[in-house]
Assembly symmetry: D4
Homo-oligomer: 211 residues x 8
């Protein structure tokens, strides 16, 4: 829980009992709980044991705020997706940034095959402190967005696609080779990492004093 | 020389003597000569032996028209590139289509990092019978072009780029996964194949009678 | 629904409810519905809700014509397969081209291991405006077909095969390296893309006036 | 030259004449010139033609400030390397961020095989607004640094190494899988991209007003 | 059973009956039985048939000591893991070394993202004859440990991780490229091989006479 | 020199002196000398020192028969190539089989893009005891030949091609996945292995008695 | 059914009904039936419908001899495996060669980790006309066998192994690079291809007259 | 220079001046100098400046003992190679272990294609404390050696080979999948790492007291 951020639990491969043990320990220590990659079985148990918890079944996240005083969110992290199937990864990014106290907004299905969709959002894009772009298949959207904004773009390749998409390898390579210079990339389907890094950057932007 | 197209010689890995032998045999048979992947040594020899030949040192092609009656070019093949470094491959495509009797035009450096460049060409793009899109690095341009036109797009990945571009693998995968549905792809740096296929399609479009 | 083509829905990964929502919206807008990659659960629901719809359980497509005036199909797209197992991908290509108003025909199991099979079809092949060749394992058929016809060949690698076929990588590479020059390639198992691109090309061939 | 940044020229694969043409055009337009991936031949010509230009033969960059009024650098971008061989890529990052008006500092050879080296720099690391970590071979340094600081880490894999380093693939994969959550990655040897993105982030941090 | 080590059975892909046959034959020959990669069905059957056997359901090993005189363990093999999910592989290594008569100890979850964890164990690490380091994702821990100790490090990459971890390829490459020179590597998830090799080395260390 | 075959020297990476030492030792022992992958420098030295040796500068082989009594060649190994660039590999195969006392013949440039070429050779193909098929790029020829003959086919992929041929990977995968069942494959450019194996098979066919 | 061999049906991916249709058609045509890759459901149906058929549940083959006059098997194909898990692939090879009228024998579990096992079989190995070597994991056995015999070796990599075995890629590459020159390779798990090719070679050996 | 070992300099990519600077600094500090991957230019300069230094032009190492009191070498590290081309890597391993004060011996060209070669060395192999096995191409030798000895085997894949050896990938995978359990692996061509790790292990074996 460095710098007041909640401890984030990676639920994948953990038994329900194991998870409950970790959560109870965090609650006992008056710490917020945030878990990613929560599966169906874990989610139902949490729903029963922690009815006040906020579940996002699409993002597969679980959020249990324990700390009572909560700061107003700062900054503006915009998460956008190329297709509707990229939604789970996008919402993992969004929820992660949100629970870390950052202002967030989501725009879905603005891929480059219909360019008018992203072009109609240019004004909104230019307001953001950081844009997280989530895309599978060709992974072309971050290259386009990077040319439309002045801030940094965090690109998240997804495993959406088939055949030569090779479980996300294709968009990963596209993003690493983005012809726009301000695009940085995270692991395939790593919405969490994009949201977490964006939040770190935004918090540094909105510190009261500068170093 | 099926269907009146010139015999195309792949010069790579052939000695100058070998090439000259093939060329003289074609001239003797009153056939047009077109060679691709011509290296410096071959080009200088051809310049000396066949001064009437048309050399494109950037495209690395050699064109020696022998047949005297030449038909007016038909159709409209538009070749566009994402960057200036893609020019050699683009001109290989263009020259191939041209010597096969097809109308061609070239637009260079309209990659997606500066979207206004391709957007300013939309009217021209929509006139084309086929658009050949040549791009390295992220290979994102065909996805965008495929969404702007009604015709088919032939995408040519190039080996331009470094690191995770992996000698053209990155744009190849991008193009195979293009989110625009009318994008078909050829081998890395295969300008010749794109130009040749485009010419075949256009000639079928402009036959006097339909089957 | 650009250029009067139906909106094509990619059903993979979409819930039944989600699909039904999209379909009803299209019907409400008097638009044709065509879906690919339909799974068993989706197909049964559609069968119940839209009994007039045309299902192809092998191709995994769903076709619900809504527009009442329908133009006579134009052109001739020939789809051929190397083996019988390539049938689902081939029929996805065929159905896509068909619903886009193009004349289509299918020839199955004419792979190169028994060369007489494809040789006996040469006359039919030479009539086609475009040949779509679907093959897995060695992916050798498009190279042979490209040498037999004067039109363009769209090659579709399939994930049929085992071991070093690597889920379609082997035929994909074969096709990208086809020694016949007029072969262009789409993604592994991307029957839809082949059919869609073929239809675009054919419609341009059969426009009343030329640009 | 979006947002007052100099136009950056990618010199690789461009002839000397071509480069000089671009540079003179920029000078004529009263714009700063910054070039990366400058080779020996280009560098000597620039030294002769533009003696006032600043050359970094290790980083392979060329910097020709034309604009006369120059703002005080803002922020603090720290560039660190695992080994001494990573220096050229690190200095490309550093120079890029510097010419974009950002404060920079370089620390070399603090790889994880001798952990005391990075541990002795922790206080300095914690002051930075962004840390750029450049490493080849195992690419392990960003994982360690990400756990020591509160800001974001931009990881740059280099092609330093042999055998199973596969020209930078090994450190690239390491960085994409960094167990520290605030690590984002750029292409292999892409010092330019890291420096450029860091500068964009820092400039947004030091805008006078917040959005 | 070379050099008094128990015969080790690789249970994966063997039917329960087949396994029981092998075990009974070994018991009949008064030999110890040790099996790795035991699945649930095999484990339950063994629990019923050989209640005196020692099962490790996490490591998926089964240990049935038959030989009655047992030597005191020699040496000190330390097994450490980067994350908690690496536990099964670590315990396979530990159990293998143990049944081969070697002293072992396990330290879990000391990955490099929180460097204090491994630093607090340095004294213990320096006592070990061999350190086995088990890590997935970035696989960075062996590089760090190799710099902290004077003995050899056997690195075991695990398939823990997602996306560009590529089922353990990422940590495997990291470990092969470890910047610490005394790191040797085994196959992905090959806890058995690491434990077995460590035991061979330790037994040679503690022979009564030297060759 | 098992079974009376000459010792075959792999010249690649050996110095001229080293090679001469080996050759003189073989001559001293009254053994035939056959070397493959001979470079220019080695070849000129051999030409000077052993003028009676038979050099094939295209195949890069060197043949120095020492044994005086030579048996009549037996059997019929047919080597065919898809393109003219495959010639060096094909002649390495041919020369290897020849020096091992087997009857050989070569047919060049009968690739599948012009199917009439291979079809016109069917009668000759059907006489062979073994057919060695050498092909680069798509590697499609062995699949076709395997369906035309009753004997076994040894396929040799070559590194001829560019882009997604990946230095012979593409034809290698094609051949491993050949839809004709009697195709076996050797390493990329391994003409020697194909010729050697063919010779072993043929010698077993023509033994006086059968086991 | 070229050259009197039975038509071989590849059962994978075919429905039971489809298979039964093919089998009945072959029976009606008085042809032998041999199927590979038969799954459980197909096997049970065949057991019921064709009780006289010979099923090998381990090899997953089905053999229904229909032709009544059967020639005495000729020749000697020896199939050997490195481990016991390679048995299914080995028996597919063995059964295929057997139904094609060739003499066969199987030796299991003689991998190189215990070299005495293969050494004790050297006399038997040297009698064979062809040795088929089946191995997964390191795939080292064919290299050893190739040095022990005078005949050709057909190597079959299997998908047995884990981690960096990459589903058979590791033994495939080993075999293609075998340091013994008379090793040829087939696809991963392609027991059928090995058996089929071996049978073709043996039949040519035992023809009454030589060409 | 941890634990009295000489500082090892990785000369690759370092200028001669840079190297001389490092060496003089070490000499000034009364420390031994050992460098690996020394190129021709570096070696000639060292020969002139440090005539007392010991150069191995095949191993590409440079050894300049400065410390005057030298301990008697302990232990027995046996380095063996499959082929003669593996010699440089083997000698890098050997020299590294030697300068670290360990007893070493080298056996060359005992690859598995002629099994008698390694079998004739079994007694010698069984005396060693550690065997380092260096092999390219199929990389099969460590699997065989691991089954013949009771000590650990360190396997070093080399980039010797062509085609599907993929610059050492093939033997690397073979070694990681070695069917002998006591084989650990280092990077391709990493003779240094093998020698260094072997020396660490041996020094721990021959400490006067045990922990
Ligand atoms: N979706 C995710 N992807 C990658 N890392 C994650 C994810 N969710 C949580 N983590 C990281 O995993 C760590 C916790 O892992 P664990 O101790 O196994 O629960 C946290 O510190 C996070 O940095
Ligand atoms: N089988 C398919 N493969 C690739 N793309 C498809 C397929 N079927 C439909 N599409 C494309 O997917 C888009 C619709 O995606 P969605 O909005 O997710 O339904 C359409 O515009 C089609 O171009
Ligand atoms: N296990 C197998 N692996 C590869 N090819 C096979 C196998 N079994 C049968 N075949 C081939 O598959 C062809 C029949 O395929 P099909 O027409 O789909 O039944 C036969 O001609 C065989 O050559
Ligand atoms: N051939 C080699 N392969 C890998 N690492 C090496 C090699 N030679 C030296 N090293 C390592 O490189 C480090 C020195 O690197 P440097 O500071 O660049 O000279 C030493 O600590 C060695 O561990
Ligand atoms: Mg969409
Ligand atoms: Mg440009
Ligand atoms: Mg068939
Ligand atoms: Mg260093
Ligand atoms: Mg943890
Ligand atoms: Mg040719
Ligand atoms: Mg066994
Ligand atoms: Mg040798």
């Amino acid at each position: 829980a460095r710098c007041g951020f909640p401890e984030v639990i990676f639920a994948e491969g953990k038994t329900v009992d194991w998870m409950v043990g970790i959560i109870n320990r965090l609650i006992g220590a008056d710490q917020d709980v945030f878990a990613t990659r929560v599966n169906e079985e874990q989610a139902s148990t949490f729903a029963r044991l922690y009815p006040q918890g906020i579940q996002d079944r699409i993002a597969r996240t679980f959020w249990l705020p324990v700390v009572t005083e909560r700061k107003t969110p700062v900054g503006d992290v915009l998460v956008i997706t190329a297709g509707t199937s990229d939604l789970p990864v996008a919402r993992e990014a969004l929820n992660t940034a949100s629970v870390m106290g950052v202002g967030t907004e989501l725009i879905v299905d603005v891929g480059v095959a219909g360019l008018h969709r992203i072009l109609s959002k240019v004004d909104r894009l230019r307001q953001a402190d950081i844009v997280i772009v989530v895309a599978g298949m060709d992974g072309a959207l971050p290259s386009v967005v990077g040319g439309l904004v002045d801030c940094a773009v965090i690109a998240v390749p997804t495993s959406i696609g088939y055949g030569a998409a090779f479980q996300g390898l294709a968009p990963l390579l596209t993003m690493l080779n983005a012809c726009s210079a301000a695009v940085v990339t995270v692991n395939i389907d790593a919405g969490f990492k994009a949201g977490y890094t964006a939040a770190r950057i935004v918090h540094r932007m909105y510190r009261s004093e500068k170093s």
